[in-house]
Subunit: 325 residues, 4 copies
């Protein structure tokens, strides 16, 4: 099958590669010429602008936009909307807020265009392992694109089958992609995935922090251990309840840098974590762990907060307490 | 009435003063001679050691120990126990863990001694405003000491009466002291008071942090306000739902130092906050806000945590993400 | 001064009354005729629709809209905008989201109208105690309305002055109202006030829950106390660090219903609590206590959550654990 | 090698079986005769009391106690201590608090006995998958027992090797067991494991709760999706960042019971979750997610809390608000 791809960064480039390795053809565009040339050398048809990309595709066309969420994606989709014809499909594979998907899909429908949103997890590993994809869009359109999704997905692999999964359950899930629902549903599910990810990461972070601190000179000698955090991560990978890919990555990191000296501990957050909390608030779902995990990241990026100073000021006010040195 | 007082720091000294101003007599001891002399000049009978303090009191004696919790208090009580006679009373007015009170009261009972624990709030303001006291001990003993407690308490003052409070309700509560229950109950109630205090303080801290940040240059100009935090604290003191002594103190602090530059934001915690969480866990009571408030203080005392570094390490592992600068 | 008031519920009606008691005149409208008549009997000029209300006011007019946030307020403001003339003022005294204020003020400015947002705290007590007000709007307009605000505010009262408050600080704050900034700033500050309120309330709730549970038959007899929660609330009102209006209200409630049997514990939340979290997320401010307090309310309204069932399902999966009865 | 085993429940019985399947011999005791007989039929030597179990073992003996933590384990160890000889080993494979391990190891050392604590994860799956073990004890003793541990452990299996793990790193970790440190260190590491487990589970629970609620009739139709939660769990198992054993179990549960109707959502907690918070407090480590996860379980076991009722009471007090129906 043929696919147009806009944005040839790590994600877009590897999507093109994985498709071509499996017999699909791609027409690609990136404003960076070097990226286009690189893909051209691997078999893609390069386009020097969006119009020529559209011109290079057969109808009904499908264009996968793989750009940073926000203005870059929005502007590109708007420009594509002016170039494409009825029944063509725009796919947003980025980290778009799902309400933007809903809005766009309505606007594009007026022009006879289709909109598909694809949330992907496991990005940098996708070329090798495949992309876990959560897809939103009209059923006919998602079905039309199935050859693309099937190729990009990890496939059933060697992962043990879920016991008792119904014979008539959608087989795509086991292959690593789902049609989650109408436009927006793909990014919605991906958003929640990231919210969960924040919580799991914070759980590991807090637990390892206790382990680390248990070795600390600040503790009286008779309360101190000399725990090997790398070995602990390693042993938990084998049969423990917390075994997970995040634990695998933790073991990787600890294997070479047990003090994690390579990191300052200033932790970014992307939109999905915040949007997850917003969704929870809209739906009145209590999510104290997901929110607290997000806020731990905010906190990590500050040396001290105004709020902390206010605590000190109040303590001084009612008790004359001075701050600890 | 006559009271022995051990420990003449800010709290112990002012307790002696407030008692003497109201016609009681005091025999006082502190290992620091200057403190003893100062109180002697204000009318106390100074003692040069615990034995002479005990010798200077009429039976049945009452000795108020006002020392840091832990070893200083424990050692003093042990020494006093060897000096006192049956039916004498030891009062611990410090910040002792309530289970230590229970343990001590049992041990002292074997010697015929009584034990009373007094949790106090409003420490540095006590000479002027009186001490809000929560008392644990045997009923007869607490009653025996009532003249002392009545004098130390703030009294009914000008605070509006609680509507519909039962005519036969214990009048002591309105005067600012209660007999909470058997030994340990006083410090238990005081402990919970401090747990609540942590939560209230953190609520103010987080709210004012949002207000402060709303003025920040980091926000786009059209989303920024120029809020006057001192005026906000001031206006909330008049009729708002959050009006409180903590807000009064906040207004005080902001009046002279709106940026709170005098504080680094490294916030201490005392035992009560931690013990509150322990009590909640023993009783299976969900206390996410009280615990989170405690942990915000732990966090405030660190520049970055090992846990934060681990988050960064995982993010690098699964997504190649670099830390924000 | 003359003020038009739309919405004569508890808040709107009492605003009219407090103004008239202090020499102002009011023209009032409510779709409920009984309310209009009641106010007319107390001295207001009733209007049978918005047009007649506008007709009854002298230019430049000022109309205070005191209706539920959302459609009722929005529709009324839109209709008023069509009836009013340049330089007239619309005041929204409800619980509007501050971004709606910003949007409206821009739209109304195009028509030459002014927009003022007033966040108020202490609602039901306002007739008696006055309204604590946080005001957003253009400086000239807020100044023009000062006689209204000054009358509605609680005034300086008998509340102790904040020590060291600058001589040249805005005197309005001490009288219980502030001009917080441009349109939206009033409701922004009020929103944060409510966020803090949630946190303080939850701190009290958790603390009293531990106290209550400490009396429980579920504890072994030798760990149990028999704490009098009403007396505890009462004593804390006198000199303790947690003294506050919320504690006063708690003491009121416990005085007549110590088991709080009148309540099921299903707790509503209004928009401000959620918007506070949104604002914090926009500004990257860590607010774990404010968010957790909100989520405790969400949780209170459910018997059990799907999430809890999932925990049970996982526990059964990895350990064969059955649920406790 | 020969091992005595006390306690033949699911864990103890399967430990005996896994050992015998791999050439070890076992002498077993359980106060339930049926369990003893069952194991005898599979090759164990049954003992009718602890004395005969000890008598049936060659010196230096090793006895694995696999009983519920607390009194059953404590009493058994005390009795064994009176029966065993110098240089014998007692192994506690249960869920003991690590400070109890430290205390016991000191007491047993006085008698010349050795104490080893083994925290295990993956209990019910252990016969098949092996037991992930964290071991505390003296180095010589843990080494002496290595044949036992090596057999019980999962082994290196097909789990991908951690990249860059040092050549000279302890090979036991990759086989699924570690010598964590002196007595107590095994259960300490296991305790933290469980703390992390709570946090990860709660992250999944909250995330799936949002997904579930997004399908709810309570939402306006145009905001509602029809998400298939079983498919979502399934697809995340393939290449997503949240892939984990807990997710596998979730997919299992959802495959047959997507509404989780089999569960009421009343969630138990074991000691480890609480002890993790205690350890964090001792070490001043902020663990808001681990604590909040524990408290969500406490909350799940109550229909409503006294604290929630207090929130309602305060809201009624300051705003006349009635509870939602």
């Amino acid at each position: 099958m043929q696919l147009g791809i806009v944005g040839l960064g790590r994600m877009g480039g590897n999507i093109a590669r994985r498709l071509m390795l499996n017999g699909h053809t791609t027409v690609v565009y990136d404003r960076d010429e070097t990226s286009r040339t690189a893909l051209a050398n691997e078999g893609s048809t390069p386009a020097h602008d969006l119009a020529s990309l559209v011109a290079g595709l057969e109808k009904p066309r499908a264009v996968w936009v793989m750009l940073p969420a926000g203005a870059p994606t929005e502007d590109t989709i708007n420009e594509l909307a002016g170039l494409l014809d009825a029944d063509d499909v725009i796919i947003d594979g980025g980290n778009t807020f799902y309400k933007d998907d809903v809005r766009r899909s309505v606007a594009l429908k007026d022009k006879g265009l289709h909109y598909v949103d694809v949330g992907t997890s496991g990005g940098v590993w996708g070329l090798e392992r495949g992309y876990c994809m959560m897809i939103g869009g009209e059923t006919e359109v998602v079905t039309r694109l199935d050859p693309i999704f099937k190729t990009l997905a990890p496939g059933i692999g060697e992962i043990p089958r879920t016991k008792d999964r119904a014979k008539d359950a959608d087989p795509r899930a086991e292959h690593g992609y789902i049609h989650a629902g109408p436009p927006g549903a793909g990014h919605f599910v991906k958003m929640i995935h990231n919210g969960i990810e924040y919580g799991m990461m914070q759980a590991f972070a807090e637990g390892f922090d206790i382990l680390k601190t248990k070795n600390s000179d600040n503790l009286p000698a008779d309360q101190r251990f000399d725990l090997n955090l790398g070995d602990i991560a390693e042993v938990w990978r084998r049969g423990s309840v917390v075994s997970s890919w995040l634990l695998d990555l933790t073991a990787d990191a600890l294997a070479t840098d047990p003090q994690l000296n390579a990191y300052s501990g200033s932790v970014a957050d992307s939109g999905e974590g915040r949007w997850t909390i917003e969704a929870a608030m809209e739906q009145a779902v209590p999510v104290p762990v997901l929110s607290t995990s997000l806020f731990a990241r905010f906190r990590s990026r500050q040396q001290s907060t105004y709020g902390d100073k206010m605590l000190s000021a109040m303590r001084f006010g009612f008790g004359g307490h001075k701050e600890p040195k």
